[in-house]
Symmetry: C2
Subunit: 197 residues, 2 copies
DNA sequence: GCTAAATTAGGACGCTCGACCTATTTCGGC
DNA sequence: GCCGAAATAGGTCGAGCGTCCTAATTTAGC
């Protein structure tokens, strides 16, 4: 039936704990206890803690891709798709105020540890950046699409950082409203009849 | 004599290492080695690691106050003061790309550890918020001064987050330029006549 | 149904950590 | 110059960590 493999179960719980407590602060014993298996069993699935981290990052990549695809199929309009991205700040507001952005905080931690996996973690941001850039391109902003994507990504990261520090729901809502106004104000240039290069 | 007390020396090095490597990842042995003292000597100055963290946060608070005061005395115009804040992103660009914002990353780490000192760390953000709000008030924005301050603080945090992840100097410079344009666009309402002062 | 492989359990290791302790040295007030 | 306090050095302890190991159990192929 709904039996998920132990390996998958480990990855899911590790994903959650890495998010809530951080990578270094989460021990194998913590995860084993959360999954309900022995510590020894652990090492049959993941020899090194870094292997587990790789699997978690891979899972987050896959989940992110799924989410982006889902938005793309749910919303035909690029602006609605971008709005869905902005709305994560509201949908996950409680978690964000408690533990920040899963991607941003992981990248920050790995950067401080000078961990090899920080390149992989950065790629999750890359997924959002590229997807957002594509939406802005669909809006006709073929020129600075990537800059717009990075701008929005950065704004979103800033909201999560202060949300975590101040834990003020009103701030999050104010900033989300500002982001949506910013999005609305983006001009959707009429397509020129011929491309004057 | 430039002789600084051992205690002060410890705090300075700990401040630096907490920033570069993170609080938990920095051990007493690391700091002792950096200072050039024995581990035993350490415990004469700080009984608990949390005591040292408190001292580091206090130091950062004091340094922040000094920096803000310095800006206030160097720039009579509120907009120039705010511009000085924005320019930290350029002045500390290299450090920020390597280790992020000292305040933001510390708050994030302490939040994940559910550490008692996260309230103290948050106060450093509070210093910036209040100081920025005062500048916006001086600009005539008495109404939404704090919201403007938090907006700017958040924008700055977002830049540091992506700067750390992507390590792209061009992104930082683009966003700083955007922030300065945003600042310039803030309307400075004409003072009403009945404001003699 | 047998057997080899996959899975699980749990102990053991070497190490590092924060914390504590006891000596020894340095220093300042009188 | 004496002496008590401050400062420094370095050892030790228990706990927790990632890692590894061996043994028991379950599973799957033929």
């Amino acid at each position: 039936m709904g039996k998920v493999s132990t390996r998958q179960h480990i990855i899911e719980r590790a994903d959650q704990l890495f998010y809530e407590r951080g990578f270094e602060a989460t021990s194998f014993a913590d995860i084993a206890q959360a999954v309900g298996i022995s510590r020894g069993n652990f090492y049959h699935h993941f020899k090194k803690k870094d292997d587990l981290l790789d699997a978690v990052v891979e899972r987050r990549m896959a989940n992110t891709r799924m989410m982006l695809d889902q938005w793309a199929s749910a919303f035909p309009e690029p602006k609605d798709r971008i709005r869905a991205f902005i709305q994560i700040l509201i949908v996950n507001q409680a978690k964000i105020m408690a533990h920040g952005c899963p991607v941003g905080t992981l990248c920050a931690e790995l950067a401080k540890l000078e961990h090899v996996a920080q390149n992989s973690a950065r790629q999750i941001f890359g997924l959002f950046r590229d997807w957002l850039a594509e939406q802005f391109r669909s809006l006709g902003r073929t020129q600075g699409a990537e800059a717009l994507a990075l701008h929005l990504l950065g704004r979103s990261q800033g909201v999560t950082a202060l949300a975590m520090a101040f834990r003020d729901p009103a701030f999050v809502e104010t900033e989300v409203a500002a982001l949506e106004r910013w999005l609305d104000s983006i001009d959707q240039p009429a397509l020129p009849q011929d491309q004057p290069s």
